[in-house]
């Protein structure tokens, strides 16, 4: 009886999950696929592969995915390294004193505001340029290097790193306690390990392994981000979300199916990444 009740509530949970999570995603992917081949949409004229051919003919979509991968990878590498370094080298100030709460302020900042702050600081006539001009480092604001709307996506990466680093400090600090990293490092030291070996062969591997899923989730979040690259990115190449929205709301309505193709490719890639991350995370006991 108890078992039957347990099973039926499990079935209800599964049905609810399918209804709320799987069905909309499945339907959206199906609709996007149908739209992309002319089987749906107000202006569609029947089945065609023309939109797929046109999208891949100029390489713009490839550059968009390339840029998004680059920004996501660099952001993850910088945020994780910075958070690890701050946690491991500033343990005491992060536990007590003003730094212990100031460091988390960026967590309260929305993405749009972070982008705006970066823009105010580093655009051609931003505060950085004015200060440099004031102190005579540059003679003209035009000499200020391109740090916003720039070819290396410096502005985009900076905004993302400033938002993600406090989150990882918080996460690593918690893992440091729950995984008893301090005690393990102490043990290693009593067994003769150097301070350096304790850091790189005990603390860092434990923290990275345990936070693996979160790192992947950050990667996906940055990969699909919209507001920050919209404000701080260039017109070409554009990150995937910005490209999708541009194609979706273009003057030329016949290009709308291309937006669905980009969205479809993005979703497929992210789902594959999530599937891989959770499977390998579970295999390694990291979820």
């Amino acid at each position: 009886m108890i078992r039957s009740r347990h099973n039926s509530s499990g079935a209800f949970g599964m049905a609810l999950f399918a209804l709320i999570a799987l069905l909309p995603i499945g339907f959206s992917l199906g609709y996007a696929a149908a739209y992309s081949v002319g089987l749906a949409g107000l202006l569609s004229e029947g089945f065609t592969l023309e939109h797929w051919a046109r999208l891949f003919s100029d390489g713009e979509v490839g550059r968009a995915f390339g840029l998004s991968l680059y920004v996501a990878a660099v952001t993850v590498a910088l945020s994780v390294s910075l958070a690890l370094a701050l946690l491991l080298f500033l343990r005491r100030p992060l536990k007590e004193g003003p730094l212990s709460y100031v460091i988390y302020f960026p967590l309260a900042i929305p993405a749009t505001v972070a982008a705006f702050l970066v823009f105010q600081l580093f655009s051609g006539a931003g505060y950085a340029a004015r200060w440099l001009l004031h102190f005579g480092v540059i003679d003209d604001v035009a000499q200020m290097p391109n740090l916003v709307n720039d070819p290396y996506a410096f502005g985009i990466i900076l905004a993302h790193v400033s938002l993600a680093t406090p989150f990882f400090i918080l996460l690593f600090a918690q893992l440091y306690e729950t995984e008893k990293v301090e005690a393990l490092a102490e043990t290693a030291r009593t067994l003769g390990a150097s301070r350096r070996a304790c850091l790189y062969r005990v603390a860092v591997p434990i923290l990275l392994t345990r936070s693996f899923t979160n790192v992947i989730l950050l990667f996906i979040f940055v990969f699909g981000s919209y507001e920050i690259p919209l404000l701080l990115g260039r017109q070409s190449p554009q990150m995937v979300s910005v490209l999708t929205m541009r194609k979706y709301a273009m003057f030329d309505l016949t290009q709308k199916p291309e937006a669905f193709i980009v969205a479809w490719l993005y979703t497929a890639l992210v789902l594959a990444l999530i599937g891989w991350a959770f499977r390998s995370g579970r295999a390694g006991g990291r979820v």
Binding site: N7, D58, E60, G124, N146, A249
Partner: protein
């Protein structure tokens, strides 16, 4: 999953959840559309039907003066006079088209929106997807003051408005500069190229409507004048002229702001670069905007505007009513108020908005003619009468589509 549990679950779902689902779906149906024949109704009946309606207007809300005019003047007036509540929400051009297109694709019988502020490119798209109510302008009593035979009013992007949108304001494109920084602005395209080369990093344009309108003006100049590209889109005429335009732009691109590696995405960003001193020129589709921006304190008092010798596009902006709008009577009443001499005169004042009127002043009652002729003058931009002679008509919308697309491939992505 326990097989026996599934029918039980379905049974329970059917007992409890279906009722809730039906209630939810019924709630989603939204308000019903006006149910009488607006085309045949006398104006008094339309005003009576409008009383008590809430009209949802979607418009660009990026200018505080325009917002103040609509929210602080139009909304209270239509509420007090006609009992219509005007609800303004933010959205423009392509977003609007996307929203209405999605509503149609989802088979939504009644729209969330009643009316919207549109220009030529949006009109073209909305007609393409048959999302506009009309023809309706003939029903508006104040439409008798509008000369629909004026090509800058009755024709929008080479497409006759045919009563499907109501002219609201008329503007002409201008180039804006700071007289304190630029003593003599370039008047033709050779002079412009020479100026840009002599002042690296001090000129650019946006990749949105204003910038593309500027390129369109240059395109017309390369084509040999306004008649060369008039009429429906013709790829055979466009391509050789466009090739000259891209060669011209690419030759001076290295001297643009940020070496032409990127461009501002909208005119607001362009204005910001101008006010922060990064560039020496900005531009606007509205010849009245300079006064408006100086009064707001955004542009310095030394700001000036001009129309180059090769002319500039003059066009009108309009109000459209959604085909599936739930409150068409209310929308018609608001439209009629917007083209009343009173509302149009107020809008003309640079301290209010500085937007050109669509009314033919000669058709107005004599007392209103006087008031229009003595409207507050502009201080920083040339008078309309002085630049009207160089006004160019909008080209067919496909030219704009191609310019957007080709500018990306021929200029932005060309390294």
């Amino acid at each position: 999953m326990n097989a026996a549990a599934t029918p039980d679950l379905v049974k329970r779902l059917s007992r409890r959840s279906w009722v809730a689902l039906l209630v939810l779906l019924a709630g989603c149906a939204g308000p019903k559309a006006d149910e009488f024949d607006l085309a045949a109704a006398p104006w008094a009946d339309i005003e009576a039907a409008a009383r008590g309606q809430t009209v949802n207007l979607v418009m660009w809300t990026g200018d505080p003066y325009i917002n103040a005019y609509v929210r602080g003047y139009v909304a209270p007036e239509v509420r007090d006079r006609y009992g219509v509540t005007l609800n303004v929400s933010s959205g423009q051009g392509n977003q609007l088209v996307s929203m209405l297109m999605t509503e149609q694709e989802a088979g939504k019988p009644v729209s969330e929106f009643d009316m919207m502020w549109i220009n030529g490119e949006t009109f073209y798209q909305l007609r393409q997807i048959d999302a506009l109510f009309g023809p309706f302008t003939d029903h508006l009593p104040n439409a008798r003051y509008i000369d629909f035979e004026n090509p800058f009013i009755g024709i929008d992007f080479q497409q006759r408005v045919d009563g499907y949108e109501m002219p609201w304001g008329n503007v002409q494109f201008i180039l804006i500069y700071d007289g304190a920084r630029v003593s003599e602005p370039p008047r033709d395209r050779e002079a412009l190229a020479a100026w840009v080369k002599a002042h690296p990093g001090r000129f650019t344009f946006d990749t949105s409507f204003a910038g593309m309108t500027f390129l369109k003006t240059l395109l017309i100049d390369f084509a040999g004048g306004p008649e060369a590209l008039a009429g429906p889109f013709d790829a055979a005429r466009y391509e050789p002229v466009a090739a000259k335009l891209w060669a011209y732009v690419n030759a001076i691109k290295p001297y643009f702001w940020k070496s032409g590696e990127t461009f501002p995405s909208g005119v607001a960003q362009l204005h910001r670069l101008f006010t922060s001193g990064e560039i020496d020129f900005t531009m606007s589709n509205n010849d009245g905007e300079v006064d408006n921006k100086v009064l707001q304190g955004l542009f310095p008092e030394t700001t000036r505007a001009y129309v180059p010798d090769f002319g500039s596009i003059q066009n009108s902006h309009y109000m459209g009513i959604v085909k599936t709008a739930p409150h068409k009577a209310g929308a018609l009443v608001v439209c009629n108020f917007l083209i009343s001499p009173e509302a149009q005169l107020r809008k003309l004042d640079p301290q209010v908005w500085g937007d050109g009127t669509v009314l033919d002043v000669d058709r107005l009652p004599p007392e209103w003619q006087e008031r229009f002729r003595h409207a507050p003058p502009r201080r920083f931009a040339p008078r309309r009468a002085d630049i009207e002679g160089r006004a160019l008509q909008e080209l067919a919308p496909e030219y704009m589509i191609r310019l957007y697309e080709d500018f990306r491939t021929e200029v932005i992505e060309k390294r």
